[in-house]
């Protein structure tokens, strides 16, 4: 559908990758851990190894959760834009097929938040 307008109506997207100074946006949500009210948005370099998400990015965002120390990263289940996804931790985001504004979730089997409440 198009916008009803008196002349031709075109919008300019405000969030294209070229406006992020070399970074691409990646969204990450931790399933069953809604103490973090919403998924996070991170501007990340496309050539960053995926493993840095686990080692450098997530600890700063969710590291104080009581479940964090118990995560077995080898059993974590990832999705990308809603589809199951198996990242290569040593390859870059770009080589993992990650594009600007892709949305990741990860599930940590056995860990379901404070008192199992998905908090």
């Amino acid at each position: 559908m198009s916008v009803a307008a008196v002349t031709e109506y075109r919008g300019t997207p405000k969030d294209t990758q070229d406006q992020f100074h070399g970074a691409q946006l990646t969204y990450i949500g931790w399933i069953d851990h809604l103490m973090f009210c919403a998924p996070f948005a991170f501007p990340l370099p496309p050539d960053m190894p995926f493993g840095a998400i686990v080692e450098a990015v997530l600890p700063g965002a969710v590291g104080t959760h009581p479940d964090f120390a118990s995560i077995d990263w080898s059993s974590v289940e990832w999705t990308k834009n809603g589809e199951p996804f198996t990242p290569d931790l040593s390859a870059s985001l770009a080589d993992n097929g990650m594009r600007h504004k892709d949305s990741l979730t990860f599930r940590t089997p056995g860990l379901t938040g404070v008192k199992g409440s998905s908090t």
């Binding site: 559908m1 198009s2 916008v3 009803a4 307008a5 008196v6 109506y9 075109r10 919008g11 300019t12 997207p13 405000k14 969030d15 294209t16 406006q19 992020f20 100074h21 970074a23 946006l25 969204y27 949500g29 399933i31 069953d32 809604l34 103490m35 973090f36 009210c37 919403a38 998924p39 996070f40 948005a41 991170f42 501007p43 700063g60 965002a61 104080t64 834009n81 809603g82 594009r99 600007h100 504004k101 892709d102 949305s103 979730t105 938040g113 404070v114 008192k115 409440s117 998905s118 908090t119």
Partner: protein, 517 residues
Amino acid sequence: MTTTAAPKKLGLKERYALMTRGLDWQTTYQPMEKVFPYATYEGIKVHDWNAWEDPFRLTMDAYWKYQAEKEQKLYAIMDAFAQNNGHLGLTDARYINSLKLFLTGVSPLEYMAHRGFAHVGRSLPGVGARVACQMQSLDELRHVQTQIHSMSNYNKLYDGFHAWRHMHDRVWYLSVPKSFFDDAITAGPFEFMIAIGFSFEYVLTNLLFVPFISGAAYNGDMGAMAFGFSAQSDESRHMTLGLEAIKFMLEQDPDNLPIVQHWIDKWFWRGYRVLTLVAMMLDFMLPKKVMSWKEAWEIYAEENGGALFNDLARYGVRPPLGWQQACDDKVHLSSQAWSTFYQYQAAAPFHTWVPSPEDMDWMAQKYPGTFDQYYRPRFEHWAEREAAGDRYNNGTLPMLCQVCQIPMLFTEPGDPTRICYRDSVYDGERYHFCSDGCKNIFDHEPEKYVQAWLPVHQIYQGNCFRPEADPTAADFNPLLEVITWYQMNVGVDNAPYEGSEDQRHFRAWRQMTTSNA
């Protein structure tokens, strides 16, 4: 027998007809379509503007008379409240935070409504509709003025009120109400009437003004009670205008129905998302609570909105898409919203707190089956962390919905343990949404919503720093810089309630009212 009787006084209907009809004329220097250039492009067909009926039949002279009377009453109350240090009669200074939210989030919308109805009044070729829009435009200007006047008394004494206008255009959660109204005012005049006149005023505004303002009175705030109910006395007329507008469009031409129905679907959902803020005001921010969000929703949406849509069914209108989801989510909305503001305390100019054990029991009683199961563990965990001197602050920016601009905090219909994710790819770019409602709105007019000014993305692009900031400096703290750019007093306006200046002052001043120490 004399035949000269005193001239009969005109009845209300005759007076109204004389004051609202025949005031316009067919233009001759310019064609009518050039004088009213926005009257047809939305596709709404109107055959007879004289069929417009304003049921209140208020003429301009009566309008001025009654509005003046309302103003006199309102300002007398506000002056008396201020003169008598009425703020010290509040139940608790936590209450004042709901006013901060109101002033930064709602009052600027009143001004936009003033502009919107002025524009629509100018654009509609029917004189009855124009008079009603003119009155509403004046009302809305009155509302924003009285709100500023009322809350300026608090600005003298409490934190977080000083830069409301500046903040409205910048602060992350204020982009929610701001973008809502920007969306409405950039639509055509008929869509605006459905967006604001019908969907917001008739279906949703009671939820904003009635329980919350009754709650203001319950918590001892005569000032807010006065402006709130004075504004609401105009809303009855606005609701009537909105209802008349939709009936008029539907009666004028059967082709108008699908256009109007889409607008109802869109604007119900847009407005409902904005009301997320109201849900947490009722359930978490009022120290003495009048009713839960769930109860307010049941009375003002399910019961009254239900009656309205039953009535409109004769035109072929059905309740808006998303209605059932909104009804189902009434048991989750306020807790999910308050959790969000609690963890992003550092970026909001009002105070938050963990609900007390008694308040959690109140929530458990109002929300049996959901509060204890999903939300009490969260708040108790945070209370334990606070007690250990480790209050939880979320220092990472959230993913936002492209349409409502709220962090993606809403859960999947039927599963409050899963965040609801929706997305669309348009013109090679991926866009994310919090709900089917927001995705539908985007998919219908993607060219409009690709332009959204999403606060999180703007921060990451470096567009939310003061001109003198130096992002290359070694000690540059981007989030601190953003808060400074917001004009918040860092560590004061955005501090937790416990230990805040507001809390200390209120306690000390109250002490002074009851002792000579």
